[in-house]
């Protein structure tokens, strides 16, 4: 039987073929949920699904779009926000 920590479902189970030709179960860390828009809840494009450790090795431009609210709001919600600001100018 596998070790106790591997009997929980925190780790994902992946069936992989070993070089010997036998399929074995590999225990893989789960990928976090995709980033979502704070207003409409849509999945954000241009924001990778990765663990924090992988984020560390990425450059700033790889992590989020370079527009205002990039990585927080989707582009259409950001546009509505900017239209609001434009109408505030008097």
């Amino acid at each position: 039987m596998v070790t106790g920590s591997r009997r929980s479902r925190t780790l994902r189970r992946v069936h992989r073929k070993t070089p010997g030709g036998v399929t074995r179960i590999m225990y893989v860390k789960r990928i976090p949920q995709a980033a979502k828009c704070r207003i409409c809840g849509d999945v954000l494009k241009g924001v990778p699904r990765a663990r924090a450790k992988q984020f560390h090795s990425m450059s700033k431009t790889e992590k989020r779009p370079s527009r205002p609210f990039g990585g927080q709001l989707c582009s259409s919600c950001m546009r509505l926000e900017m239209i609001k600001r434009a109408r505030m100018i008097k």
């Binding site: 205002p68 582009s75 546009r79 900017m82 239209i83 434009a86 109408r87 100018i89 008097k90």
Partner: protein, 125 residues
């Protein structure tokens, strides 16, 4: 409505939220803008008019636009021109020229070898 001199805000892309002025209406799709953004052609859908219209001529220069915006209380920060740092020049490592001929070098090695073991063999008294 968008016309020459109308004060706008960019609402799309990385320059979203910056204020600009329409300098020229190219056709029913594109306008020429200047101000807090770089002077460029821009889709009308990417620009939101604020309703204000500044007194500017068609194809006004960047300086005129900046001064007109300043009267409205809008500062334009000029981007710093990129200054190229002087490239560090690597100094080529100076190689010591071998003046000795092969025969001399061999002789020198032999001498060094002969001297070393002698030094080691000195017994402690």
């Amino acid at each position: 409505m968008i016309e020459v001199g109308s004060l706008c805000m960019k609402i799309a892309g990385r320059e979203a939220g910056r204020i600009c002025v329409v300098i020229d209406v190219l056709d029913n799709k594109f306008v020429l803008i200047d101000g807090q953004v770089r002077r460029k052609k821009c889709n009308i859908n990417h620009v939101e008019a604020t309703g204000k219209v500044l007194k500017l001529e068609k194809n006004a220069s960047h300086e005129d636009v900046v001064s007109a915006l300043k009267e409205e209380g809008i500062e334009v920060v000029e981007p710093k021109p990129k200054q190229k740092a002087p490239r560090a020049v690597k100094e080529a490592p100076v190689k010591e020229k071998k003046t000795e001929t092969k025969k001399e070098a061999k002789a020198a090695k032999k001498e060094a070898k002969a001297e070393k073991p002698k030094a080691k063999k000195v017994k402690k008294e």
